[in-house]
Each structure stands twice: as C-alpha cells, then as structure tokens.
C-alpha cells in the first residue's frame, strides 16, 4: 500500500514525459546540459540547492531483525561544471530520519551524508537532438550512522562506503504551456566498493584494543557485498520566459524524484530503500 502511495506521486512524470513529444519547432532553448557537446567556449557552472522529503525503509540486522520506515529529510547541494565535451558533477547530501517499525514503540534514528563526484560524456542524440544521452563514471562516498534507542550495547550501527561505478544520464527538452522544460534521468550503479559495517554481533566499536582496529572492518567487493542503485528523474523548469526571450543566465527550478536502494551483505545484512521528492533552485553563473 505504501508503495502504491509513493508510486502515485511519480505518476505525473509519465504523462509529462509523454507530453514532451508534443514539442514542435520552438526555437528558444534553455542553457541545457545537452549543449555541452557544442559548448566548448562557455565553461558554465550550475549550482543546485534544495531540500528533499520522502520515505525511507531500512532493515539493519545488526540493530534489529525488523524493518523500519519513516520520513526522510535531506539537504542537497549539487554543482555542475561544463567543460569542453564533458560535464563534471559534484553532489553533497546530508540527511536525517526518524523511523519506526509500526509494531511497537521502538524507534531508530539515522543521520548521514553522501558525496558524489561524476564525469559525464555525451554519447548520442535522438529525436532531432531533443533527447541526449550521456555516460560516465561516478565515485561515491557515504556514511550513515544509526541509533536504536531500545537496544543495549548494539545501540549504534553504521555503514561507510567508497565506491566507483558507471553512471548514465538521459535528457529530454520539451515545451509545455509555452515554457521550456528539461527532463533528466540519471542512474548509477557502483561496481567496486570499499566498505565497513559493524561487526557481526560485537557490542563494542572498533575504538579499543579489545574491539580490534577499524581496518578489521574494511571489506572490498562488488555487487556480492555492496549493491546500490541510485536513480533520479528531474524536471527543470525555467521562470520568466515570457518576459525574457534570451534564456542564458536565467535561474531555474528543479523537481526531482529520487529512488535509492542500498544493500550490504556482510557481516550483517543491511537494506535501505529511499524515495524522495527534491525541490531546489538551479543557479547558473
């Protein structure tokens, strides 16, 4: 039921994307990321600041065999840098959540951050140049700290990971209500990761001699140990287009649906699913 409700939030994207096909021969173009193939002179920078709200589901076997879910809140800072023939993206997300299992009064708190560093290269265009595809690589570093207030000794859990993997992006420009929109789909899938989780059932963290060293917790692996699907569909819309025909330099707003799934298999299984809606402002400078 929860999923249906969450999915329902994103249904409007489908007709919007479909409606994009109605774009005919409008000549006004926003400072789109798709222009990077030709934008060899303008080394533009974009910054996106905003907040996301959504739902997070978590099952951390170190803390509890039960599934927890609740509201997700995050602050997101993204920066794009256009360079000749490529695009660089950096992104920092900080979040916090309060979760419950829906069965008893126990609660679980999670806070953490994530940093992405990605390079995109244009790989093709279709639909007369209105849809562009990009591919590249993304490095991700993340840290999440979880606190289960009802536990003794196994109160704290964490997951730390640094990973590297391919990232893909597709962009579609379209006109709607005499405005120009940009629909962007971005998907990344880490392939190689270095990660750390709490010990299987240790009540002590790696801070003492008898608890071992932090390096004891480090693992290197791929999808067998760490799987992460990071996906977002963004809709950029530009303001004041009626007043100003020339759009270069205009600010825009971004509405994003994000879906992340993360799984670490050892030493205790951790599964996290997150759906959120992000609203932020794009500033070009």
């Amino acid at each position: 039921m929860h999923f249906l409700l969450r999915s329902a939030l994103w249904l409007p994207f489908i007709p919007l994307a479909a409606w994009a096909q109605t774009d005919s021969s409008h000549t006004v173009r926003p400072p789109a990321l798709e222009d990077i193939r030709y934008d060899t002179i303008n080394r533009s920078r974009y910054r996106i600041r905003g907040t996301a709200i959504g739902a997070l589901t978590l099952k951390d076997q170190f803390l509890s065999p039960l599934k927890y879910s609740g509201m997700y809140l995050s602050m997101d800072r993204t920066a794009y840098r256009q360079l000749p023939g490529k695009l660089r993206k950096t992104r920092l997300i900080t979040h916090s959540t309060g979760l419950s299992n829906g069965l008893n009064d126990n609660s679980l708190l999670q806070t953490g951050f994530e940093y992405n560093y990605a390079w995109f290269f244009p790989v093709g265009r279709v639909n007369a140049g209105k849809t562009s595809f990009y591919a590249g690589a993304m490095a991700t570093g993340l840290f999440n700290l979880k606190i289960h207030l009802g536990n003794v000794n196994n109160v704290l859990s964490y997951d730390v990971a640094v990973s590297l993997g391919p990232v893909g992006m597709a962009q579609r420009r379209f006109r709607l209500f005499r405005r120009t929109f940009m629909l962007t789909e971005e998907l990344s899938l880490p392939v190689v990761s270095v990660m750390a989780r709490p010990p299987y059932a240790w009540p002590l963290p790696y801070f003492s001699e008898e608890g071992g060293r932090f390096t004891d917790a480090l693992q290197v692996g791929s999808w067998n140990r760490f799987m992460r699907i990071q996906n977002q569909v963004s809709l950029d819309f530009y303001l004041k287009q009626k007043k100003r025909r020339k759009l270069v330099g205009l600010n825009a707003y971004r509405l994003t649906y994000q879906w992340n799934y993360q799984q670490m298999n050892r030493p205790n299984k951790l599964q996290t699913g997150m759906h959120s809606l992000f609203l932020g402002r794009i500033i070009k400078f």
Partner: protein
C-alpha cells in the same frame, strides 16, 4: 483520468512508442517496485512467528552454545510444539522464557510489559554472603565517608575500605586520586564489590587501572563473527596500563555469587595482579556482553554475544573463584558478623 485527458487533448500529435525517455522513466519507476520484494515485510505478529524469530536470532548470535553444550535445535523441537496461534500472551511468554532459561545465563532476558524472564541460578542457589544492614550497622557505623560512588572507611587506622555497589555508577578520576592518596600509607585496601551486578565495562578499566604497576594482559575478548555456533573472531587481547595515582600495597577484593557481568570482569582482572587476593565466594559470572533484539509483539530480549577469557584463555562465564573461600554462616549472620570482611581485615593485618 489524467491520462485520458491528455490523450484526448493531444491525440493528434501524441505518440508513446517514439519516446525513449518515456520508456526509460517508466522502467526506472517500475524498478523501484522491486524494493518491496527486496526488503521483505516484517513477519506477522503471531505467536509462531515471534517464537521463530526469537529462536533464530539467538541461534545465530548467542555465544555460549558450545561452551555450555546446549543443543539449541533440540530445544526448538521441545518448545516449538507448545506454541499455538490462539495461546495467550502470558502463555507465549512462559514458553519463550522457559526456552531461554535453558541457556543458564544471567545476561539472557525476555522483556514484556508484564514480566521479565530470567535465570538467576547463578546466585540464588548459593549463600548470600552479604548483608548490607550488618555491614552498615556493625562495621561502617555513622562515620564512614561517601565519596560518590564509593562508601569508604579507614579500619583500625591501617586498612582502607572501599565499597562499590554498582558499575553503573560512574567513577571520576578525581575521586579515585583523592581516595588512593588518602589510603597510600595503609597496610592494605579492601575493595568490596559484593552484590555488584555489573554495569559499564569502562568503569572496570578506570578502577582496575589504579592497581596495576605496568602494562598487564588482563584477558581476551572474542566475538561472534557469523551465524554458526563456533563462528568467532580471533581473540583480541585486553591490556591495562597504570593511570593516575596508583596503589602499590596489598589489595583484597571481596566477592560473592552476586558479583556479575562487569563486576565479574573486574574480579577477573584483579585476580591477575600479584598483590591482589580475592576473598569470599566465587563470583556469579557473566562473561559475555549482551546485545538486544526485538519481536513483532514489542517484546525485547537480550543475550550474550561475545566471550571474555582470562589470560590463560579460560572462560569466566560461570565466575571467578575466590583465592580464600569464605562463607558467612547463618550463625555468623545471626550474630551480626560479616565473616568475609573480618577475614579480609585479618589477612591484611598479617
């Protein structure tokens, strides 16, 4: 409805099939549906599901099955048939509590709003060997000092007495410094931890560090590393180094069967020191640190998930023996005599 409207309005120019973007976005939204399949929902809040979750969690993470020679699968066969969907909460609690009782572990409890299951055989089957009223009225009197969290007194102008009743009470280094300096010239110190059922392991280190002269191996810790009953990490050594003002004289630690968990660990540490003598009864044990779990009905449980070993790699789960075994007999207690304390005073007077 929204779709219909759009299709009607745009029917002349609309084309689903030619949009890779639509397909991509739809695919990804569809992918997110997999999350429900990947993160399985919580089991139903029914007696059988709760029992199975308790049994499985303990099966995979409890640390003393092999040491205690417990056949956990056989216990499942013994108790599982007693679980019925229509049984009351009290009946379910009793069956689960009975199963956990077989672990013979004071660190194992099932906690419900109406009761806490426990196995307290580790002290209930033995002489109490401590009477707080006798201690206060016949030995401490009214002129002892309270240097929190300790009660202290100088006996016979030559023996310092320190009572520490719970390792849950935090110890400040300043208080310890003052205490050790105060008793620096005594013939010995008595540390009375009888009836101390444990608390914070960090306090064990704080207190014991005042009685070591050099870096000393106190024992080993090994932790469950996987779901198998014998899946353990390597044994991590535990050393203790001197800290602050240290005491160089003779030390007696008073113990009884109600010394448990962190207090048991303290007794184990002190037993390794050459100038320390344990007087009283064997400690109650509790060599593992407990971790928690929870059930769908809101009950929580805890159980040992590691093993503390002494420097000879021996278990202390069932206690640390006293160097000088002394019991307070019923006759002594009736006469208002703390035999264990008096034995310690005589020992230090020699």
């Amino acid at each position: 409805m929204t779709f219909l409207l759009i299709r009607t309005t745009m029917k002349t120019r609309f084309s689903w099939s030619c949009s890779p973007m639509v397909l991509l976005v739809s695919l990804v939204i569809g992918l997110s549906a997999c999350e429900q399949a990947l993160i399985k929902p919580n089991p139903a809040n029914k007696p059988v599901e709760n029992f199975d979750l308790l049994w499985k969690t303990v099966d995979e993470k409890y640390s003393y099955f092999t040491y205690k020679n417990i056949d956990w699968k056989a216990l499942y066969g013994k108790y599982r048939p007693r679980i019925k969907d229509d049984m009351s909460e009290e009946e379910l609690f009793r069956v689960m509590g009975d199963m956990l009782y077989e672990l013979k572990d004071g660190h194992v409890n099932l906690v419900s709003p109406f009761d806490v299951s426990r196995n307290w055989e580790w002290y209930l089957g033995y002489p109490a060997n401590f009477n707080e009223t006798i201690l206060e009225r016949n030995y401490l009197g009214s002129d002892y000092q309270i240097a929190r969290p300790f009660q202290t007194k100088l006996f016979n102008d030559s023996v310092g007495y320190i009572r520490y009743s719970s390792f849950l009470s935090l110890i400040s280094e300043e208080v310890l410094d003052r205490l050790i300096k105060k008793y620096a010239n005594t013939s010995g110190i008595i540390i009375d931890i009888r009836d101390n059922t444990g608390g914070a392991i960090a306090m064990v280190n704080v207190l014991a560090a005042r009685f070591v002269e050099k870096k000393t191996l106190m024992g080993y810790n090994r932790y469950k590393a996987g779901p198998g009953h014998n899946d353990f990490t390597k044994a991590y050594p535990k050393h203790l180094e001197p800290k602050g003002t240290s005491y160089k004289g003779k030390v007696v630690v008073l113990t009884n069967r109600k010394v448990y968990s962190a207090a048991n660990e303290f007794a184990a540490y002190m037993a390794e020191l050459p100038n320390v003598t344990l007087i009283g009864d064997q400690t109650g044990g509790g060599g593992g640190a407990p971790i928690s779990g929870e059930l769908m009905n809101g009950w929580t449980f805890r159980f040992s998930a590691n093993q503390l070993l002494n420097p000879r790699m021996e278990q202390i789960e069932f206690g640390v023996p006293a160097d000088i075994k002394v019991d307070i007999s019923p006759a002594d207690e009736a006469a208002g005599k703390d035999t264990i304390l008096e034995t310690a005073l005589q020992f230090l007077a020699q």
